[in-house]
């Protein structure tokens, strides 16, 4: 009987980078801090596919690396299957037992494969390091995983530059699932692939999830793909989660103005009218360096902002069943006109 405990529970996670001038002699504190991830909390349940969307600079790459324990958080907790893995420093995590449980598939398969390693060696790497397999046991497991990901065994002796984009993607996936992880983080796994290959890889990911009882954290900028694959989605902006909820609901009725703007920017094949219904976000994102903690991150670009948004940082509140948004004026009816701007910074 599986427990109700979520597989991954992230609470109040923050990652701050010092920027600005340091003094050369002595310990000078950095003059500013860049808030890459600023108080993120969410959970991933067993067998769930959670999508993480957001644009460049929103902090999703950093968040993903914090969860994969490649980086250490500045604050907050990461709880994996009841174990507080945030406390284990990143440089020691390679030796810790949970290392094999959380794996990642990278965006650019070409970049994430060592050009001097054959596909076999690349897939064998985690097995050598984390499972200490060798010889025939190693070969057997690599071939099994290759079969699972649809990689023909004659491709295993090839180098990355001798493989196609789809084949490289499969190698990356095979390597990630070789050590039987429970949580797989997929960082834009199909963004570099052609449409026809993308379908195949997405199907593969769907099948693997069922076969191997995996949970996915699926990071993507392609909202269409996220909609198809994910149960729940999280929308990030400037280091904050601004909306979360079941994928269908969020896509059909976004509650946060940023989500709404994001969805309206996605072109739909066969549909020419996107421009007329476009909800734009004027201006540039606020600076992530030393952000004022009481101003909503979208303030100044949001058509619904008032003075309240400038003095009181909105927290994630429940909007509907399972849907949360961090907004004082969530969009409860997407057909309604946005309220006129009362005050802009």
């Amino acid at each position: 009987m599986t427990s109700d405990r979520p597989l991954l529970a992230v609470d109040g996670l923050r990652k701050l980078y010092p920027v600005g001038k340091h003094r050369i002699w002595g310990r000078g504190a950095a003059s500013s801090l860049l808030h890459a991830v600023d108080g993120v909390s969410f959970t991933i349940g067993r067998g769930e596919t959670v999508g993480l969307v957001g644009e460049s600079g929103c902090g999703k790459s950093t968040l993903v690396r914090l969860i994969a324990r490649l980086l250490d958080a500045s604050d907050g907790s990461i709880c994996f299957d009841g174990l507080e893995i945030g406390k284990i420093p990143a440089r020691h995590f390679g030796l810790a037992p949970p290392r094999a449980q959380i794996q990642m598939v990278f965006q650019d398969a070409t970049d994430s494969l060592n050009p001097r390693f054959t596909a076999f060696r690349a897939i064998a790497d985690p097995l050598l390091r984390l499972r200490r397999l060798s010889g025939t046991a190693l070969r057997a497991r690599v071939e099994e995983v290759a079969r699972l990901t649809g990689l023909q065994s004659e491709l295993l002796s090839r180098f990355p530059h001798q493989l196609s984009g789809g084949q490289k993607a499969r190698v990356g996936i095979a390597r990630a699932i070789a050590v039987e992880p429970r949580l797989l983080i997929l960082d834009e796994p199909t963004s570099a692939l052609d449409v026809s290959v993308q379908v195949v890889i997405l199907r593969l990911l769907q099948d693997l999830k069922r076969q191997l009882d995996l949970s996915y954290l699926f990071v993507s900028h392609d909202l269409n793909v996220v909609r198809l694959l994910c149960n729940r989605i999280l929308v990030m902006y400037l280091g904050h989660i601004v909306e979360s909820g079941p994928a269908d609901r969020v896509f059909a009725a976004p509650a946060h103005p940023y989500t709404q703007a994001l969805l309206s920017a996605v072109p739909k094949p066969g549909f020419a009218g996107g421009r007329s219904t476009r909800i734009g976000l004027p201006g540039e994102p606020r600076s992530p360096i030393d952000p004022a903690p009481h101003i909503c991150p979208l303030y100044g670009r949001c058509g619904r902002g008032t003075e309240k948004c400038m003095v009181d940082m909105p927290a994630l509140r429940a909007i509907a069943a399972g849907q949360f948004a961090a907004c004082h004026y969530p969009i409860t009816d997407p057909a309604a006109e946005p309220q006129p701007l009362a005050a802009v910074a």
Binding site: E55, S56, S164, D194, V195, S196, Q198, V199, V200, L202, R203, Q206, H221, D222, L223, N224, V225, R227, L228, L229, A261, L262, S264, A265, V266, P267, K268, P269, G270, F271, A272, G274, R275, R278, G280, L281, E284
Partner: protein, 327 residues
């Protein structure tokens, strides 16, 4: 000499064929493609990687790689035969009547020159402005593409600008001399969704206000739908179908078009509804390529598809399809 009517095609490509000499053989990148584009209209060349769409764009601009050879065809730009015109004639109109925006804006700009100077360079070369007027006009262009604080930004280097801003600078450079034809080669690859929307809206607005013809090269059917009147679908160096946008999606006539639409996540209700395209691109180095390069992947293929030359028939209103057995 350059066409100024909206009904006579500004750009007419006919039976274009391009080959590349490589170490591993001759790649027949483009074979017998043809299309037309009038002023004020936008057309998308849609295809996956390796379909030959960028190569076509470069051939029109005259910036093909040295290893490329044009084996057949004509490109007529407002009465001028581009393939026969000398390098000097092309250099005159390139940048002035004919402009291109590349993907990956940061690498397409000169990293060691301020962006204002780069725009001024184009103006000085093609734009009938004096050296004294050029910087001012460059700032005007930056304002036109809605870069905030243009006087200050003109002194910035590409490294200091975001991807979206760099793309705006490229648009400014391309439109500085009010060209008649704008080619946009995957202009939004690598940009955020919201930035993509803003940039494409900007291009649409500027091209409409100047009655330009636009050729959009993209792999994204959604982008093509939203910004283009006509879509030409390319596969392995052939144009398999040309149609007005809505007609293409309502009733695709070529099997590949139908499969491509069915494989695009944007339109599908669920993952199971997505259909993978069977087979793979044929190796374009082969000497024995069948006349229809899709036939080896096509479920409807018949012996005719491998023997008879590829037909290019008109089907109805402004549509063409290259198939013996269209849908």
């Amino acid at each position: 000499m350059i066409g100024d009517s909206n009904t006579v095609p500004l750009l007419a490509v006919e039976d274009l064929g391009i080959e590349f000499r490589t170490r591993s053989g001759t790649v027949r990148a483009v074979d017998g493609i043809g299309f037309e584009l009038c002023r004020g209209k936008t057309m998308a060349l849609v295809g996956e990687s390796g379909s030959g769409k960028s190569v076509t764009a470069y051939a029109i601009m005259g910036i093909l790689d040295a290893a490329a050879r044009i084996t057949s065809g004509q490109i007529a730009f407002g009465g001028l035969a581009l393939l026969q015109a000398g390098e000097k004639a092309i250099a005159e109109i390139r940048g002035r009547e004919l402009a291109i925006i590349f993907q990956n804006p940061r690498t397409a700009l000169n990293p060691i020159r301020p962006v204002g100077k780069q725009i001024a360079d184009v103006l000085l070369r093609h734009g009938n402005v004096t050296a004294a007027q050029a910087p001012g006009r460059a700032i005007e262009m930056l304002a036109k593409v809605r870069i905030p604080d243009p006087e200050r930004r003109a002194r910035s280097y590409p490294l200091e600008l975001s991807g979206g801003m760099c793309q705006r600078v490229m648009i400014a450079m391309a439109l500085a001399c009010a060209p008649q034809l704008l080619i946009a080669d995957e202009p939004t690859t690598g940009l955020d969704i919201t930035t993509q929307a803003v940039i494409m809206d900007l291009i649409a607005e500027l091209t409409a206000s100047q009655n330009m013809a636009t050729l959009l090269i993209t792999h994204d059917l959604g982008l093509a739908s939203e910004y283009c009147d006509h879509i030409a679908v390319m596969h392995a160096g052939h144009i398999v179908e040309t149609a007005p946008m809505e007609a293409l999606f309502a009733t695709p006539h070529h099997p590949y078009t139908a499969k491509l639409i069915a494989a695009t996540p944007g339109g599908a209700p669920s993952l199971d509804a997505l259909v993978a395209i069977p087979g793979a691109l044929p190796d374009l180095r082969r000497a024995d390529l069948p006349p229809c390069r899709y036939s080896e992947r096509c479920e409807r293929a018949a012996p005719d598809c491998f023997d008879r030359p590829l037909p290019r028939r008109s089907v109805g209103d402004d549509r063409r399809v290259a198939c013996h057995f269209p849908l």
